[in-house]
């Protein structure tokens, strides 16, 4: 495999995603969860006043961006893989002289690119349309947001591929990944911004990989992350990236052997 062939694949996969644009749009529109969270947090803010350390503006900025970032960094590869194994499409990927990881990565990148294509402009437009929604960004912080979103995306793809690989042995991987995701939702900044969580949960959130793809870029975006905190966050991301690279490569080798042994 070469960088060229990988880029060509991304191009093709983006074309596929463009074909699905209507579907993607409906899908994005129907993922109301972050806005539900926002609504509830605004109610909390109204009832509790000063006891809540975050302002109304910060909450609005956080959750509107959460709606975008969560779509850009999440990965459906575990399910796609599950489906490919069932339908036999996985065989075609194994027959190509390119590691399936990159084939799936290309698919995910193409899909997220199309999403970014209309989500990011929508968010920018929303900041102009609604005065309550503003971000005060310096170029450096803006860049940091982009970097952390990219890192979060890569880490998530790697994690979901690791889970997918385990599907060589078990048919329950999609469910297990749901558990992982569910646990993550508490710690990623999805249910609440990390700062608003109870202390022990907050510590777990800082140390585990979940926050990398959600809370970290969002906290930087709304200005609730110091330079030191951001650096620490990126280091945590890098650490987990290494852990999952190790896990993935080991599982892949063993899993492929297993797949070759049992698939009918």
């Amino acid at each position: 495999m070469t960088a060229r062939s990988f880029l060509a694949l991304i191009k093709t996969e983006t074309a596929v995603a463009v074909e699905y644009r209507t579907r993607i749009l409906i899908w994005v529109l129907s993922s109301v969860f972050p806005l539900l969270m926002l609504a509830v947090w605004l109610s909390v803010e109204q009832t509790s006043g000063d006891r809540l350390p975050w302002s109304r503006g910060e909450l609005i900025g956080y959750y509107f961006a959460a709606a975008v970032v969560s779509q850009l960094t999440s990965s459906f590869l575990t399910w796609a893989w599950d489906e490919d194994m069932r339908s036999g499409a996985l065989s075609f990927r194994l027959l190509r002289p390119m590691h399936p990881f990159f084939q799936y990565l290309a698919r995910e990148v193409g899909f997220r690119l199309v999403m970014a294509g209309f989500l990011v402009p929508s968010l920018v437009a929303a900041t102009f349309a609604w005065d309550d929604l503003t971000y005060s960004l310096t170029p450096a912080r803006g860049l940091l947001v982009i970097v952390t979103v990219l890192c979060g995306f890569l880490l998530n793809v790697l994690i979901s591929m690791t889970f997918a690989t385990a599907a060589f042995w078990s048919t329950q991987m999609a469910n297990l990944y749901s558990l992982w995701w569910g646990a993550g939702a508490f710690l990623s900044g999805w249910i609440a911004p990390t700062e608003l969580l109870p202390a022990p949960v907050r510590v777990a959130s800082y140390l585990l990989p979940f926050r990398s793809s959600m809370g970290l870029p969002l906290d930087i975006l709304v200005g609730r992350s110091t330079a030191a905190q951001s650096t620490a966050g990126l280091l945590v991301t890098a650490f987990w990236f290494l852990v999952f690279t190790w896990a993935f490569t080991r599982l892949w080798r063993a899993g492929l052997r297993h797949y070759q042994a049992v698939s009918g």
């Binding site: 579907r23 129907s30 947090w41």
Partner: protein, 275 residues
């Protein structure tokens, strides 16, 4: 159970359809028995999501006793009922109407339409997602626990109100599913149609009082979110009125009739387009 097609007069026909239902569902159950590990893992998953939701709500109450007039136990009752409704959606609607796009694309719908059975019935109740049948039980369990924690008696009248409003809620969800999935017959939306319904139902996770202004009006009057979760739970908490019960019943009946009309209209279009 979610509403049945309104055009089913006569006890004999009803019996026939109930028998069909038994045959359909026992076939599904048998097919799923093949995957025994799925049972365990889905049961665990259901329990996990219930605990997840209950704890998640708890975070809000770190900053105050109530949120817009709702206490923690009261919100848990809503959560339990939401779990029940959503579980039924996943068990009955998703495996059937949720696959409408697939039916159209694979031509399965043509098989359905050539059977001498009401087509809406066939596309609505052919399959059963048995893994999600645990969700309603868990949800009701959570409701009972939350009501005990709240510490106020639930009167028989409250209970009757909940049953009536709950039936209305399920009918409205079913009607909405039929209407949304009818779009597939016009080649609109694809698989995302199911996500659309899920999005609407998802908004029922919280009572409408959590939302404000335009959004609350939208969720109360345009989308059936208030009907779906807020009203039935308010009945249990002794906060409903007879007038509301009557209105919701009428709305539910109208929704079922309307959905059936939309289905037939779409079917006529589909037959016209594909002939």
């Amino acid at each position: 159970m979610a509403g049945r097609s309104p055009s089913l007069p006569g006890g004999q026909r009803l019996r026939r359809y109930l028998r069909l239902l038994r045959i359909f569902w026992s076939a599904t159950v048998q097919a799923e028995l093949e995957y025994r590990l799925n049972f365990l893992s889905n049961a665990l998953l259901s329990l996990f999501w219930l605990v997840w939701a209950a704890l998640g709500v708890g975070v809000y109450f770190r900053f105050g006793e109530t949120v817009n007039g709702w206490s923690y136990p009261e919100l848990l009752v809503v959560m339990g009922w939401f779990f029940a409704v959503n579980g039924l959606r996943q068990a009955v609607i998703q495996p059937n109407l949720g696959r409408m796009t697939e039916y159209v694309r694979m031509g399965t719908l043509d098989f359905v339409l050539t059977k001498p059975v009401n087509s809406q019935f066939m596309v609505s109740f052919r399959h059963l997602g048995i893994y999600n049948l645990l969700d309603p039980l868990l949800g009701i369990g959570l409701m009972v626990a939350a009501l005990i924690w709240r510490g106020e008696m639930v009167s028989v009248i409250d209970l009757v109100g909940w049953v009536v409003l709950g039936a209305g809620a399920l009918s409205v969800v079913y009607a909405l599913a039929v209407a949304i999935q009818s779009l597939a017959l016009w080649a609109i939306g694809g698989e995302a149609l199911d996500d659309l319904l899920q999005g609407v139902v998802e908004a029922g996770r919280f009572p409408v009082q959590m939302y404000r202004g335009f959004v609350r009006a939208l969720l109360t009057f345009a989308l059936p979110v208030a009907v779906m979760t807020t009203f039935p739970v308010e009945a249990l908490l002794g906060r409903t009125t007879l007038k509301l019960v009557v209105v919701v019943t009428l709305v539910a009946a109208a929704a079922l009739v309307g959905a059936s009309l939309v289905w037939r209209l779409s079917l006529r279009h589909y037959r016209g387009a594909s002939a």
